[in-house]
């Protein structure tokens, strides 16, 4: 589904990504972790072309992301993304947030888009808030709406960029629960997150990044039982004793 081959990116002399390669199979859940500044957010933004990269290749469902001839908008409409700061559109009601891209990008009818949006809103447990505006919801609720907004586009896979790191601790689980359910239904997911409990529960593989490199890329069992690199061991020790 997602194939990343030898991707490198730099800002001048500073390397953000160095020769990163990995793949995500259909139906697979891959968690990307690593210390801050390790390039994990940049990597996931490269997958739908929000960040350009200088060399290497990323193929999503047979389409090359870096190819200038690729219609990036079209590709992005098929890849769902959830952001650290939710990024709901504050001037639109929740229903409008859910419907706008369906209507303007996919060309769906207003009623159809509303129906679909409300169904997904119900699924994330927020049907009662349909008429509200983003600013009137808690962070956890906003993030669940953001997930519903991405799902409304019927994505072939989902990218999560630290979806819980801007949330108060008591709201993290409501978001992780939605993500877990999604994983169990077989959605292809690539998640940048520090939530190791979530990784243990649903991930197939864990990628550990440091200084722009993919240091570990292993099955979850192997990663947690016995991380090979010292950096990963230190990282796990810090995060698990938190």
């Amino acid at each position: 589904m997602i194939k990343i081959s030898n991707v490198s990116k730099n800002y001048g002399a500073f390397d953000v990504l160095k020769d990163c390669s990995t793949t995500v199979q259909k139906g697979e859940v891959v968690v990307v972790c690593g210390p801050s500044g390790s390039g994990k957010s940049t990597l996931i933004k490269c997958v739908n072309g929000l960040e350009p990269f200088q060399s290497g290749e990323i193929i999503v469902d047979g389409t090359s992301v870096g190819d200038p001839k690729t219609n990036l908008s079209k590709l992005r409409s098929r890849v769902g993304m959830v952001f650290q700061h939710f990024e709901l559109f504050p001037h639109m009601s929740i229903t409008e947030n859910l419907a706008i891209a369906q209507i303007k990008v996919l060309g769906r009818k207003q009623d159809e888009a509303m129906d679909k949006g409300l169904k997904l809103l119900d699924r994330v447990g927020l049907k009662a808030h349909a008429h509200k505006f983003p600013g009137q919801l808690s962070g956890g609720q906003q993030q669940r709406v953001a997930i519903a907004r991405a799902l409304a586009m019927d994505p072939i896979c989902m990218l999560f960029d630290e979806p819980t790191s801007a949330l108060d601790p008591e709201m993290i689980n409501e978001v992780l629960d939605v993500m877990t359910e999604l994983a169990q239904e077989g959605m292809t997911m690539m998640c940048v997150t520090h939530e190791m409990g979530f990784a243990k529960r649903v991930a197939n593989r864990v990628i550990f990044m440091d200084h722009g490199r993919i240091v570990e890329d292993d099955s979850k069992e192997a990663f947690f039982a016995n991380p090979r690199s010292e950096r990963a061991q230190q990282f796990l020790a810090k995060i698990l004793h938190h």
């Binding site: 933004k45 908008s73 700061h85 996919l106 907004r149």
Partner: protein
């Protein structure tokens, strides 16, 4: 100082005979409002466009917009006005220039004033619009793109609706400024409020009454504009966000 106050002067028939001095003031007020409003509409449209271009990823477009803003911000309004009024007609192709110079002088004054105020103000509006766009979290643009919007669609549905709401308060002061700046147009003979006030002094020798009347008229314009813009602010307030409920 033994100044003779005489407020009745406004009701006296004016020197032109067919009007009172109050009538002069009111026609000046009308001119100030007509000029400022028409220039404001143009300035908003142009300023929005230039402000958006300043944030464009294309270097040439952004560069053009920056040059535009710098040009109109770094030359005094009076100089710009004189260039529009005295210089431009000379530089036009002769046939058009001559036709223009033979048109109604009042029309010439009004057009030069309107274009001048519109472009001068548009550069300031553009700066506010750019600041509004840049103050939005960068993630908003990414979220729009990630949903499959093209860049123009992202501006239209995501960035601009919020940016325009954010710039309403700073635009209020630009809107007030355009009324005040319109007084500069009295220098090319346009009979707006300040010019009528001055005429009154020449004809009636009652400078203080005339001064106070003109000041009150500007204060009224100010209060009205602030009231209207506050209405606009409430109208576009986003619930749960920035002054919204």
């Amino acid at each position: 100082m033994n100044y003779q106050w005489h407020w009745g002067v406004f009701l006296q028939p004016s020197a032109s005979g067919d009007d009172t001095y109050l009538g002069w003031m009111l026609s000046g007020l009308k001119m100030t409002i007509a000029l400022s409003l028409s220039a404001w509409v143009l300035a908003l449209a142009l300023g929005a466009l230039i402000g958006v271009l300043r944030t464009a990823p294309n270097k040439w477009l952004a560069g053009f917009a920056t040059a535009y803003v710098e040009l109109f911000r770094n030359i005094p309004l009076l100089v710009q006005l004189f260039i529009w009024y005295f210089v431009l007609p000379e530089l036009l192709p002769e046939s058009i220039g001559n036709a223009y110079k033979q048109s109604n002088p009042m029309l010439q004054q009004f057009l030069a004033s309107m274009i001048c105020l519109a472009l001068f103000t548009s550069a300031r509006v553009a700066e506010q619009v750019r600041a509004g766009i840049n103050s939005l979290p960068k993630g908003q643009k990414n979220a729009g793109l990630a949903l499959g919007f093209t860049l123009p669609q992202t501006y239209r549905f995501v960035i601009l609706p919020m940016a325009f709401r954010l710039v309403v308060p700073p635009l209020t002061s630009e809107f007030l400024n355009i009324f005040k700046n319109s007084a500069v147009c009295s220098t090319i003979g346009l009979l707006e409020l300040a010019a009528q006030g001055r005429q009154l002094v020449d004809y009636t020798a009652q400078p203080y009454e005339s001064f106070i009347a003109v000041t009150v008229a500007y204060l009224l314009i100010n209060v009205t504009v602030m009231f209207l813009m506050r209405k606009v602010e409430h109208r576009v307030a986003v619930p749960g966000y920035l002054g919204g409920k």
